[in-house]
């Protein structure tokens, strides 16, 4: 499946309860096959942006176009790989069965699906296909979740702080794995994160949102070669730049400037 471009055109999202404008006239284009990290303080509408792209919520105004289609059409064709902070695994299914379920929901007979065993091997869990989620560590559960994201073969990956609940070492390891898997198929990725270093390490571009209502405060490309050396001056310069933009935001208290 060819990776799509993603466009937000004057997208506004208002919620009625509580009455709040999460996003205000957001214009954004995301290149096909790229990784875009979206950062911002808590309440800046990062997750809303992702939910709108995934068709889980509808914009109040404006439109979202993904490779010429709307988000609902993308969902219908199972073009979206969704991953959240919680592994969202079904506890009554084994790791392999969880992955299989992603392939059997809304079946797409014309699409060739990778067997769950192979997907688990890609994330280093080939021996854990029969394990129930409760017997796996948090990092292993997120690996299964990552394998499940790959399972549907979607060309747009929407990832909402997928490794936020993990410790730093596990987060780094999983980010590297994710990068390897992305390089294999080059989907378009939108990656919401609170972690500046992670954003600079992974993304082709960083988008910074202002707090409530969320608008685009800044966006800048990251031209560093991969794999990126976190200790290099160029890397650190981008981290400092992202951090200074965030500090200029009106409400920085919710941001974990740990990067």
């Amino acid at each position: 499946m060819t990776a799509p471009e993603l466009y937000f055109r004057a997208v506004t999202k208002r919620y009625s309860t509580p009455r709040v404008t999460a996003l205000e006239k957001v214009d954004l284009e995301i290149g096909a096959g790229s990784i875009t990290a979206v950062i911002g303080v808590s309440g800046s509408g990062k997750s809303t942006l992702l939910r709108l792209a995934g068709g889980l919520d509808q914009p109040t105004e404006g439109e979202i176009v993904i490779g010429g289609r709307n988000p609902q059409e993308m969902r219908q064709s199972k073009g979206i790989g969704w991953m959240s902070q919680h592994p969202a695994l079904l506890p009554w299914r084994t790791a392999a069965e969880n992955i299989k379920l992603a392939q059997t929901i809304n079946p797409q007979p014309e699409r060739e699906m990778t067997p769950p065993g192979e997907l688990l091997a890609m994330v280093g869990l080939e021996d854990f296909g029969d394990a129930y989620p409760s017997t796996l560590s948090g990092g292993m559960q997120q690996r299964v979740s990552l394998a499940r994201t790959l399972a549907v073969g979607g060309s747009l990956w929407l990832m909402d702080e997928p490794f936020a609940a993990l410790d730093e070492l596990k987060r780094d390891a999983l980010a590297d794995e994710m990068l390897g898997l992305w390089e294999a198929s080059r989907p378009t990725v939108v990656w919401v994160t609170h972690h500046i270093t992670e954003a600079v390490k992974l993304a082709d571009e960083i988008v910074v949102l202002t707090p409530s209502p969320g608008t685009i405060a800044s966006r800048f490309p990251i031209d560093l070669e991969r794999p990126r050396d976190e200790t290099s001056p160029a890397f650190q310069m981008i981290v400092r730049r992202a951090r200074s933009i965030l500090r200029e935001s009106p409400a920085v208290s919710g941001f974990e400037a740990t990067g």
Binding site: L56, K78, I80, G81, W82, P91, W92, I105, N106
Partner: protein, 244 residues
């Protein structure tokens, strides 16, 4: 070998022995407190107690199946059509708040001394815990799981069958563990209000004749049946829910 069951059995045996000794030493009349040996003798003489227990068990299980099915269907309806909730819950609460002891005689007058009123009373007692737990269970799906399923464009029926239903199973078993012993009580209470057979009828006759060994034997059988149906539910739960 596990020591827990042995200790429990020895404790029960000790208490029963103490009961027997106290009754014999104090020469307590049988119409006040019968000795365990007299109760056992009554149980062994098969004086219609087992057929009565079978009838009560049949009424209880029938009522439980009907009550649980109604509770489950209502919960499914509420899950799919949320606007039904207020109406259904108002009626359910009304039924739940009406004492079964007050309803049983009315049902006996309407439906006679047979099987019908006992099943209805049992169903009225058991549908509510199933309804409440099923609604809770169907709603217990984590938002992140729901979002993930929607990102795949899962239909409402796929979400129900593949996610909500299995997710609700622990809640349904919790409800059945409450409802199953309740069903036995419901059937016996309904029999007390008027019946031609069953454990309740047996107790009522024993009570009227001050036949305490017979009454105690019936209580013992009822207790064992209640514990038995509870145990069956627990066994099915253990075989069905393997991931916990």
């Amino acid at each position: 070998m596990r020591r827990g069951p042995i200790v429990a059995a020895l404790t029960v045996l000790g208490l029963v022995s103490l009961w027997e000794i106290v009754v014999r030493i104090t020469n307590t009349p049988e119409y006040l407190v019968p000795a365990p040996s007299a109760i056992a003798e009554h149980l062994g003489s098969a004086s219609g107690l087992l057929p009565a227990a079978a009838i009560t068990l049949l009424e209880a299980v029938s009522g439980l199946l009907i009550g649980a099915s109604v509770g489950l269907l209502l919960a499914i309806g509420i899950t799919f059509w949320g606007h039904l909730e207020q109406a259904v819950m108002s009626i359910a609460l009304l039924v739940k708040s009406t004492p079964v002891i007050a309803v049983a005689p009315i049902l006996t007058i309407w439906m006679g001394f047979g099987y019908g009123p006992k099943v209805v009373v049992t169903a009225l007692l058991t549908f509510f815990p199933v309804l409440i737990n099923a609604i809770e269970g169907f709603r217990s799906v984590d938002r992140s799981i729901h979002d993930w399923a929607r990102s795949l464009d899962a239909s409402p029926s796929e979400i129900f069958m593949k996610i909500r239903w299995p997710s609700a199973r622990p809640f349904l078993f919790a409800a059945l563990k409450v409802a199953a012993p309740l069903a036995m009580i419901g059937a016996v209470v309904a029999e007390w209000m008027g019946a031609s057979s069953g454990l309740g009828r047996h107790m009522w006759v024993a009570y009227a004749n001050l036949d305490m060994p017979s009454l105690f034997a019936a209580v013992l059988v009822l207790t064992m049946l209640s514990a038995g149906v509870y145990r069956i539910v627990v066994e099915i739960e253990h075989r069905t829910i393997r991931w916990a």
